[in-house]
Amino acid sequence: MERLPSILTGPTADPRSAEGTHSPDGVDLTLIRWMLSLTPVERLEVLQANVRSILILRDAIPRP
């Protein structure tokens, strides 16, 4: 099966990896490694998609 590009699959953690998934202060390192695997324009597209999703959810909340 053809593999999807990383920008569509999101972060993945290889369970065999010796590297941890979180830093001692709780930062999710899998997200950082995933973002670093993207190009700058892909990173910006991820941000814009996230912000749009948040705004769609916010606007779906009925206002009193």
Partner: protein
Amino acid sequence: MPSPAPDFLTILRVLTAHGVEFVIVGGVCGVLHGAPIATFDLDVVHSRAPENIDRLLAALSALGAHARGQADRRVVPDRSHLESPGHQLLMTSAGPLDLLGVIAHDRGYEDLVCHSTEVTVSGMHLRLLDLETLIETKETIARDKDLAVLAILRRTLEEKRK
């Protein structure tokens, strides 16, 4: 009426098309460096040189920029606003844009540009504050919202250095 969802690429395209000199700082800068953080506005420190203000005014006109938080009043930024070291919090047709005269104890464009790095995004050559200096400015400003993202920025820098 709801505000437009941010379209950072469009704002950047208009600024660069008008030849505006600026350095991207803030959350979008962090994201472009690879930090998984969210932000709803684009923060830039612009050159306050007279010819750059001319170009910036033209770009802001193309973007329909006006001050945020003015209720029914539509306040369009003028030359005096953009020449000041203050922060202009604007809404544009492509979303929020913050124009910052200086950040972190009077650091303006001329000071920050030598701590910036160039990236090419969709054919645009953009100047980003380098990640080390972004972290340094957030440590200096040290508001709660800056401190909230510092751990992610520091870990991003560590991962990049591996």
